[in-house]
Symmetry: C2
Subunit: 147 residues, 2 copies
DNA sequence: CTAGGATCTAGAGTCGGCTCTAGGTCAACC
DNA sequence: GGTTGACCTAGAGCCGACTCTAGATCCTAG
C-alpha cells in the first residue's frame, strides 16, 4: 500500500476513465463527484485513485443508461455517508429493472435482425435460376417483397 | 384475404406502430417509406397494411439503435427492388454486430449493478450491532466506502 | 350552421450529454 | 525569451430524433 500517484492530472484521469477532460469538468460542475476535486498551484485539478474508481462506476452506470440526474442523486447519497443505504439500494434496483428491460428489448430486436439476415443469406445462396422459379409473388419476408 | 382496411389514417397508423403522428410525417420527410404515401381528398395521408408492416420493422431497427441515415439507406435499397440483396445483407450484418456489442456491454453493466445491489442487501440484512463490529475501515465496495 | 376533432404545412424548439471556443495562465524546454 | 502544451473559466454550439406551434383546412355530428 505505498503512496503512489495520489494526485493525477485531469489529462491522466481522462486517459484512465475514457472520459474527455471536458466531460470531467462538466461532471464536476454537475455535482458528480463524491468529494470536492482538489486544486493544485495555478488552480489545476488533482484527482486521487478513489476519484478514478468512482468515475469508473459512473462510466458503467452511464453506459447502462442511467441519466445524469439519477447519477447525481446517487452521488449525493454516497456523499451523505452511512444511513441512506436503503435509498441507494432502491435506486440501483430501479435502474437494474431498466437495464434488464433494455436487454430484453435488444434481444428481441436481435432475433428479428438475425431472422432477416438468414432470409437474405438463403436468398443469396440459391442460384438465380432457382430463385426465378420459387413461389412467385410470395414475399420472402414481410417488407413489401423482401425488405 | 379480404380487402379490409387497405387505407388507414395517420392517427390509426400512429396508434398501431407506437410512433406519433409527428414522427410519421417526419419519417416520410426523411425518406423512410418504401412507397410514396398516398393522399386522400384534402391532401390527407392514407396508409396500407404494408406500410404498417414496414414501419414495424423500422421501429425495431430504430429501437436497436440503427441511426436514421442507415435506416434511410436500407429503405432506398428495398425501394430499388431486387438486385441489391448483398448490400442489404451487409447493412444488416453490420448492425447486428452493433447490437450484440451493445448486449455484451449492457450485460457487463448489469453484473456490476447486481453486485452492488448484493452488497447493499447484505449490509441491510445485517443488524446494526453486527455492522459496527465488522472490519472497521475496510470499504465494503470500491466507491469511497460503499458507493 | 356551428363546433369539435383530425388533419395539413413549414419551420421553430426541446432535450440530454457532452463538445468546442475564446481568451487567458502557467511551467518547461530550446 | 519565445514557443509549446496542458490546463483554466464561462458560456456557446452541436447532434440526433423527434416534438411542438401556428395557422389553415376539412369532415362529421348535433
Amino acid at each position: 500500500m505505498a503512496e503512489i500517484a495520489a494526485t493525477l492530472s485531469i489529462g491522466q484521469v481522462a486517459e484512465r476513465t475514457g472520459l474527455s477532460v471536458h466531460a470531467l469538468r462538466f461532471y464536476e460542475h454537475e455535482g458528480l463527484f463524491v468529494n470536492p476535486v482538489r486544486r493544485g498551484p495555478g488552480g489545476r485539478r488533482f484527482y486521487s485513485e478513489d476519484d478514478v474508481d468512482w468515475l469508473t462506476v459512473c462510466v458503467i452506470l452511464r453506459a447502462s443508461g442511467l441519466p445524469l440526474p439519477a447519477l447525481r442523486r446517487y452521488t449525493e447519497l454516497v456523499r451523505e455517508g452511512a444511513g441512506n443505504e436503503a435509498e441507494r439500494l432502491a435506486l440501483l434496483r430501479e435502474h437494474r429493472v431498466h437495464v434488464t428491460t433494455q436487454l430484453d428489448r435488444l434481444a428481441r430486436c436481435l432475433d428479428l435482425i438475425t431472422f432477416k439476415i438468414g432470409v437474405y443469406e438463403d436468398l443469396l445462396d440459391r442460384p438465380p435460376a432457382e430463385r426465378a422459379g420459387g413461389s412467385p409473388g410470395q414475399p420472402v419476408v414481410g417488407d413489401q417483397g423482401a425488405g
